[in-house]
């Protein structure tokens, strides 16, 4: 692990990212698909390894997210916005499971937890 200290990036609606700004993340407000793509590009250029994106912003720019999906250098992670979660992040986890295994095996786990 390199000793280089890196920052955290946050992209999304201004209200939601303000909270992250308070803990010292690099926050870029973005609402439209173009703004989101530009913000992600800028953070990636600045070598920010972890970018949190609000679910609302992630929904408008799926192409921008796909672009960084296979790169091990940057992790773009959807997080809930001010309205709470709308299930986008969880749906992405399930998509991964279906892609890897062929069926959603996590349904059983939830039933067990309930």
């Amino acid at each position: 692990m390199s000793d280089k200290v890196l920052r955290i990036g946050v992209v999304g609606e201004e209200d939601a990212i303000l909270a992250f700004k308070a803990i010292g993340a690099v926050a870029i407000p973005a609402v439209t698909a173009d703004e989101v793509a530009a913000a992600l590009f800028k953070l990636n250029q600045d070598k920010v390894p972890v970018i949190f994106i609000t679910e609302q912003a992630a929904r408008v720019a799926p192409e921008a997210l796909t672009r960084y999906e296979t790169s091990p250098d940057v992790a773009v992670i959807p997080i809930p916005g001010i309205m709470g979660t709308d299930g986008y992040g969880e749906a992405r986890v399930r998509e991964n499971v279906i892609k890897a295994i062929g069926a959603d095996i996590l349904i059983n786990q939830e039933k067990k937890e309930e």
Binding site: P49, V93, K99, A100
Partner: protein, 212 residues
């Protein structure tokens, strides 16, 4: 299964047999890799989902606190208070190797996260804002852990898909193709041999007839 376009010669046969052995070995290795990747993926993705639910809960609380702070404070004053953060959310990034899949590894740099430091004075800000910042700071290590797990899961899922396609291509396309080609060449060679033998016998018969 269609056979490959090859000349039915002994040399091609040897080469085909060699390729079949390699394909079988590759198939076995890739199958083992796929099984191990799936095993690791299942544990990882369960952890990922659990962590996601936890983080979503924590963030929900922090953002609600923030919404409260926004309600009691002027938007301008709030922005001003947070203009220069007192703490730096800093992380260190590394790499890990899971069955030759390079996955990221993040650790929170503790130096940036001491006890609750507030970037503003007490006079013009509300107590809700202090709470919100404290909750955010507490949620940060989990957020980073979630980022690491989720990215790893995505990369593993991608690799599993690729490996599965390779395994299937070997099992259902390449190996049957080689077997079929080997059978074709063997049969063709045997047929040639039989042809040559019959021809020789015929010639021998003709010579014998002419001699008498």
């Amino acid at each position: 299964m269609a056979i490959l376009h090859v000349n039915p010669t002994r040399m091609e046969l040897t080469q085909m047999k060699r390729r079949l052995v390699t394909a079988r070995r590759g198939h076995k290795l890739l199958k083992d890799k796929r099984d191990e990747l799936v095993r690791q993926f299942i544990t990882l993705v369960r952890e990922n989902l659990r962590l996601r639910k936890q983080v979503e809960g924590e963030l929900g609380i922090a953002l609600k606190d923030f919404a409260l702070a926004r309600a009691v404070m002027e938007p301008g004053a709030l922005r001003q208070a947070l203009l220069y953060p007192a703490r730096q959310a800093a992380i260190k990034a590394g790499r890990r190797n899971i069955l030759s899949v390079r996955v990221p590894e993040f650790t929170v740099d503790e130096g940036g996260l001491g006890e609750a430091q507030l970037p503003y004075g007490m006079a013009e800000t509300s107590a809700q804002l202090d709470n919100a910042i404290a909750t955010m700071a507490q949620a940060l290590p989990n957020l980073i852990a979630l980022a690491e797990k989720e990215k790893t899961a995505t990369l593993l899922a991608d690799e599993i898909q690729k490996t599965r396609r390779r395994v299937n291509a070997l099992e259902y396309v390449m190996i049957p193709q080689f077997e079929e080609t080997i059978r074709y060449i063997t049969m063709k060679l045997e047929e040639n041999e039989r042809g040559a033998l019959t021809r020789l016998m015929k010639v021998k018969e003709m010579i014998a007839q002419r001699a008498t």
